[in-house]
Amino acid sequence: MKRPALLKRAKPGVQAETISKVAAKVAAAESATTHEYDMRQVALANIRLWEDQPRSFHLTMDDIVRGQIQPDDPASDEKTEELESIIALALSLKEFGMLNAPIAYAMPGKTVQLMGGQRRTMAAVFALFHVQSKVDAHDHMEHDVVIDDTPDVDRLQDERIAVKVFAKKPDDLTLERLGMVDNVQRTELPIADKLRWVVKYADKRQAAGRELGWRDLVDTLGLSRSQAYEWLAVVQARQDPWVRKLMEKVGEGEAPFSRLLQIARAEPNDREALFELWYGTRPAPDRSKKVSLGVTTNLPALKSLVLANVHGDIKDRLATMDWGNPRTAKKAFAEFLAHWEANHG
C-alpha cells in the first residue's frame, strides 16, 4: 500500500547557498587589501574640486557660492539645470546628512583633491550659504532655499564635511573597487523617511513646474540607478489614493516595497482591486468540517465504532447511510464528528 509522503527528503550535503557564501568570503579574504584611506573632517575651503572629472559639468564654485546663475552666462541653461539638482542634494543633505562621503586624496598641507563627490561637495557649500532650517509647528525641521546675496566666504574655513581621504592618489582599479564598497557602506535610511521625503520633494518640484529625475534619487537617497527607476514609478503615481494608502503601510513596515512598486505600476483602474486583494477584508475561511479518513479501508469497523457512540435520532440516520462507499462514509463520519463535538466539546 502506498503511504502519503509527509516530508520531502532533503538532498544530502551542504546547501548551495552556504557554499557560495563561504566561497565569496574566502575570495574576499584572499584578495583583501589594506584600507588606503581614512575618514577626515575637512574644511570646505580645503577641498579642491575635480577639474578633469569624466562627467561634463558646467557649474563652478563661484556659481554655487553666489547661489544663482548670472543671466549673461554663456552656459546658463545647462548651469540652471545643474544647479537644480545641486539644490535637491543640498536639501537632502540638510535632511539626512551626508549619506556617502566624497572621495579625495591628500595634497601637501591640509588641502585634499576630490576624485568623486564633486556635486555632494558643492551641495554642502550651497547648503551652508543658501539653505535655512527652521522648526515648524509640528516640531519638524523645515529646510528652505533662501539665496544669500552677500555670502560670507570665510565660513568655508569653519564648515567641515566628512571626506574619504587617500594618502596618495590611488590607481583606477582601486577607485573602481571603492565605488563598489561605497554602495555597500552607504548609510541606510528607514524606508518611511525616504518615502516621506521623496513625496515632499516631488511635490515641491512639481510646484516649480519640473519633474523628478532618476539622478535626483541616486544623489539624494543613495539608490542605485535601477532602484531609482522603481522609485520614480512610485513617485509618479503618488497622487493615487491607493498608492498613498500602500505607502503608509510600507512606511509602517506592514507591506513590502515590492507591493508598492506593483501597485504603482498597475493600471489606475486595477489598483483598488489589488489593494483589496492584499489588504481588504476577506471572507471568513470556510470552517466547515472536512474529514480525512486517511487510509482506513475497514469501513464496517468505522460504522460500528460510530454507531456505538451515538444515540437517538442521529443513530438511526447514520445507520441508514451507505457505509460501504468511502465517499458517503466520509460524510457520515463528518456528521458524527460534528455531533460529537457539539455534545462533548
Binding site: 550535503g13 568570503k25 574566502v26 589594506t34
Partner: protein
Amino acid sequence: MTNEEISPAPDYGNLRVLAIMNHKGGIAKTTLAKLLTEYAVRAGKRVLGIDIDPQCNYSARFVEMEADGGAPPPHPNFDPADPTWDELAYAPPGYWSIAEFFRLGYVEPYPTSDANLHFIPSHKRELTQFLEQVERNAIDEAVIDHMRAMLALDFYQEEYDLAIIDTPPQTSALTASAGRAATHLLIPTEMQEDSVAGMADMAQLWQAENQTRTGEKLHLVGILPTKYDTKSAAQRRTLEQLSQNPVLGDKLIDPPMRYLQTYANSSATYANPRSLFEMHEDTPARVEAEAFCRVIFDRIFGAAT
C-alpha cells in the same frame, strides 16, 4: 590611519609560521598539529611547536606535562642556584610556558626527544589567568601583536624553519594573535553543513588580518576535510560540492583525513610506536597522512622541497 598603524607583513626571513585555526572545537586541529609536527621533523625541518590552547593537548604530545597535563615541567636549563633568575622582574618558577611568552616577552623553548623540534608548551591556569588580567585597551599590544613581534626576533629566524601554532577553538585575542603572527593558515573542517558554514567566520578573520597587511598576505595553505567518512552520502556529497566550487575547489587538500582514531591513538602521550610515521609503511592511516602532509608542505615551502 597613519602609516604606523598599518602593520606590514611579518618580517621573518625564512621562517614560516603556520597557524592551524578553526573556531569550531573537535575538528582535529590538535591532531593535525601533532601530525604535521612529526612530519616536519622527519622532513628535516627545524620546527618550533607553539601551543596557545589552554587545553595543553598539543604540548602533552611533545613535552612531559605536570599537574594533570596542565603545566609544563621544570625546564632542563633551570638552575635554582643561578643568580640571573633573581634579576628578572618576574622570575618564572622554573618552567617556561606560553603565558611567560606573553607576559615577559621571553621564553625558552623546551627541547624534545627530536633534536629538530623545540616546543613552547601551554599552561592551563597561567594562560587563562593572563588573559583575564590583560586590560581591554592593552590587548592589542599585549596579545594580538605580541606573537608576531616575538617571532620577528633574530633568534627564532635563525633557529627554526617552521613554527606550528595550535590554536584554541574560539575567535579570541589568542586566535587573533596567531593569525597576526602567521605567514600561513591551515583550516581543518568537517564535511557537514555547520562546519562548512562556520568557515565563513574563519574567512572573516583572515580577511581582517589581510586588510592590515601592506606587504605579503597571510596565505591560506588550504582547507583539510577531517573526520571524513566515505560511508556517509552527505559527507561524500559535501566534499564533491566543495571541490566543484571554483574558489574552494583549489583550496581543498586531497586526500581528506579519514583515520582519525588511528591518528589519535598514535599521537597519545605514551603511544607505541612513538609516531604514526613509525608504523608500517603500508598502514592506510600513515599513507594518507603522508599524502596530505606532503600537499601542505609543498604549499608552504614550494613544490621544490
